[in-house]
């Protein structure tokens, strides 16, 4: 089974518009949670958000997008996607190679156009330019078309674990011999729709979120996107038309690389990290809350270890889901204690970016890979007192650490839990 490497990354979040900007903010402990006045919601200036500080029109201009139907969700994805493919040095030919697949994730999709959608819904007119942009698939169909990608493409929505599952699915396509290269990631933009949804659930904090703190009072919503280029060490993809053509043959397919140069897609490239473990489970407890003992999170973390062939002691660091809601941080803490006894150093980088929903798994995968590359841990912010009778304390200061294996957790509504393990490549 082929090993899967990260050979390129791109990110845009409340703390920066590039990989370099994000890392420098994380090192400096500088959060991007602000009282924005720009958002089209009555909560602008009242609730803090992790907003990307580029206007939608500015993004359109930057990418010369004139199609009025292209949403902010798509533009954020495009921003991160462009950086990732440039970082991996992918050529047009590699992007068009039918063995290059695209696996994206989003929960908001075109619903960021709350007001436009409302008008189209009640209106009797012929509808706006956004009609075909409201769904989640529109984001990745746009990327596919813009870059003339001919390989398999799909969109996942498992709520807040969406892009962690996109990463896992892309890696499995490579490992099953159905792709040589997978561009995977997620995107979500701040929307009146999600702001009001989370507000109705009464889990939005009025101050900066405080992951794992005794007095935490909810999450800050954020927006952003991240994409990763995954490449197989021995990628011999199956079919010049589409990866999915090989289904039914499993790994014993009559391997036929369409592009001889992709025979070892990752060879000779910069490698940030190797994806060594993953697991997707369901908490099966409640539509919008985790079980108190964190069964889904526990099973996801344990399953990721099993898939990597590792024991719990080998994990050096965890980038937690850590939303700072009452429910998540307690369930995740209990699950970590169950699995690790004394958990390794951990943080929640949502204290910088806010909770970026469908993008968070990919954004935190990028942060995990940066931690491995630079052998450093970024401080978890706003923590003071541990949760009584659990007593876990996140890492509160930036520091360098010898890191070999890093775990990244993503849990979502509907009990969808996914853990990924990234490892240093020497």
């Amino acid at each position: 089974m082929s090993r899967v490497f990260i050979t390129g990354m791109g990110i845009i979040s409340a703390v920066g518009n590039s990989l370099a900007e994000n890392r420098s903010a994380l090192k400096a402990g500088k959060a991007g949670i602000i009282l924005s006045r720009h958002l089209p919601t009555r909560y602008a200036g009242i609730l803090p958000f992790g907003e990307v500080l580029i206007a939608t029109d500015e993004l359109k201009e930057k990418f010369e997008v004139t199609d009025p139907g292209i949403t902010r969700t798509t533009l954020l994805a495009l921003h991160a996607f462009t950086e990732a493919i440039a970082d991996a040095g992918l050529t047009d030919r590699e992007l068009r190679d039918p063995t290059t697949v695209l696996v994206g994730a989003t929960t908001v999709g075109g619903m960021c156009l709350t007001d436009e959608l409302y008008r189209d819904t009640i209106g009797s007119c012929e509808g706006s330019a956004y009609l075909s942009s409201y769904d989640c698939a529109s984001v990745h169909m746009y990327l596919q078309d813009r870059y003339h990608m001919q390989g398999f493409a799909t969109t996942i929505n498992t709520a807040c674990s969406s892009s962690a599952n996109a990463i896992q699915f892309g890696a499995r396509l490579i490992r099953n011999g159905l792709a040589s290269r997978a561009i995977v990631g997620g995107t979500d933009s701040l929307a009146k729709f999600t702001i009001n949804g989370f507000n109705a659930l009464q889990i939005l904090s009025t101050g900066h979120c405080r992951p794992f703190d005794r007095d935490r009072s909810g999450l800050n919503l954020g927006e952003g996107a991240a994409f990763l280029v995954l490449e197989g060490e021995d990628a011999r993809a199956s079919d010049p038309r589409s990866a999915s053509a090989a289904v039914g043959h499993g790994r014993n397919l009559d391997a036929r690389a369409s592009d001889p140069r992709s025979a070892s897609a990752a060879a000779g490239k910069k490698i940030y990290a190797e994806l060594t473990g993953y697991c997707n489970t369901n908490d099966a407890f409640h539509p919008s809350a985790l079980s108190a003992q964190g069964n889904g999170p526990y099973l996801a973390m344990r399953g990721a270890l099993q898939s990597a062939g590792m024991n719990a002691q080998q994990i050096d660091f965890i980038n937690t889901h850590g939303t700072a809601t009452e429910n998540n941080d307690e369930a995740e803490s209990r699950a970590m204690v169950r699995l690790f006894g004394e958990p390794p150093p951990f943080v929640s980088t949502k204290s910088y970016t806010g909770h970026t929903l469908g993008a968070s798994g990919a954004i935190e995968a990028v942060f995990s890979a940066l931690s491995l590359e630079h052998q450093e841990i970024y401080a978890s912010l706003n923590f003071e007192q541990p949760i009584p009778d659990i007593g876990l304390r996140p890492v509160q200061a930036y520091g360098t650490y010898p890191l070999h294996h890093v775990m990244s957790n993503s849990f979502g509504f509907g009990g969808n839990c996914t853990s990924l393990i990234f490892s240093k490549v020497n």
């Binding site: 509808g127 009609l131 398999f152 969109t155 599952n165 109705a200 999915s244 039914g248 509907g414």
Partner: protein
């Protein structure tokens, strides 16, 4: 090696198994006709779902959960019947509740809202509710890639059975007619403007199709024993270029069928939209003279995961095809063992599913 062991379906044709009546088959003699150009699903009473939960479910969640829980024999768990994971494809699952919540937001000017419809509006509500009701802690995923959402779930299932021999998985496709969604798609020209009552969908020679909905569920594994059928191959493609599409179909058939052979039956997703007919005819022309050609959209209507209905139909076809299905019947009698499903969604999303039935 992906095998189908069990199937269930809620559709506009009353394909749901009723208590004591055994397994529903597709031997429909008098298909239900569209009303106001809509083919709405005939829903069962959902006896397996507690009333307090049922009341909060949207129609797509109800249909998905109902079809999943109804799988024959699911009351007696065994290795094959207790899936290790749940994979759902849905094009517009959650849309209806999204719009309901959206209306609350605007109508109450972002005041204090009830979160129920927001939580139900996420597309993963179908897979997660099945997981919740079946106490299934296993793999759980939802694909939302519009007209290729169900095919994505099938491809994932094929990888899972390769990775975990002996495990079984529940995979399905679910969509509902959302009034709002229908209005969007209608104004985009995807549905017929003229009333279709009394007319044959396939001879209208006008743009647009009729809207449909449904849920089709499958228990899949990598084990051939007692399987209904084997999924030999799945292909997805985004293109509007006919030579590209033709080459892809050609390559797919060469890859998955013994040299020189072609399917016994083509189940075509032809939907009455005269703008898409050429694409379907392109595939028909690639079949053998003795390949039977059948159509199914007059039974289920057009929706993003209609190919899941087609797969259910292919697994449950009676030995003699009802006349309304048939587009071309060769003179020689035929046993339908190898079935090719070719479907398009909005002209640019194409899928092929090749099935070999156990006879």
């Amino acid at each position: 090696m992906l095998y189908i062991h069990q199937t269930s379906c809620i559709s506009p044709q009353g394909t749901y198994p009723s208590p004591g009546a055994g397994v529903a088959t597709a031997g429909i003699t008098a298909p239900r006709r569209p009303v106001d150009n809509l083919l709405r699903a005939i829903e069962p009473s959902y006896e397996g779902i507690p009333g307090s939960i049922l009341r909060r479910m949207s129609k797509s969640v109800k249909m998905g959960v109902g079809a999943a829980l109804s799988l024959p024999g699911s009351a007696a768990p065994s290795r094959v019947l207790s899936p290790q994971g749940i994979l759902i494809g849905t094009g517009n699952g959650g849309t209806e509740d999204s719009v309901k919540f959206l209306k609350q937001i605007i109508d109450y000017n972002e005041g204090l809202l009830t979160p129920g419809t927001f939580v139900q509006s996420t597309a993963n509500a179908i897979a997660s509710q099945i997981g919740l009701l079946q106490h299934n802690n296993g793999y759980n995923v939802t694909y939302v890639h519009r007209g290729l959402a169900f095919e994505s779930a099938l491809i994932d299932a094929a990888m899972l059975v390769n990775e975990h021999p002996g495990h079984s998985y529940l995979a399905g496709g679910v969509d509902e007619i959302s009034d709002h969604h229908y209005r969007f798609e209608y104004s985009e020209g995807w549905y017929k403007k003229e009333d279709l009552s009394g007319k044959d969908l396939y001879t209208t020679d006008s743009p647009g199709s009729i809207a449909g909905e449904g849920a089709a569920m499958f228990i899949l594994s990598g084990t051939p024993a007692n399987a209904v059928a084997e999924v030999k191959g799945v292909l997805t493609l985004r293109s509007e270029d006919h030579p590209t599409i033709k080459a892809a179909i050609q390559l797919f058939l060469e890859r998955h069928l013994p040299a020189g052979t072609l399917p016994d039956l083509l189940l075509s997703g032809e939907n009455g939209d005269n703008r898409g007919l050429e694409g379907y005819e392109l595939c028909e022309a690639m079949m053998a003279p003795d390949t039977t050609i059948a159509r199914f959209k007059h039974l289920c209507g057009e929706y993003p995961t209609a190919s899941a209905y087609a797969l259910w139909l292919a697994c449950n076809l009676p030995a003699v095809l009802p006349g309304h299905l048939v587009k071309w019947l060769p003179s020689k009698e035929k046993v339908y063992q190898t079935i090719l499903i070719y479907n398009q969604y909005e002209f640019s999303q194409h899928s092929l599913i090749l099935l070999e039935r156990s006879l």
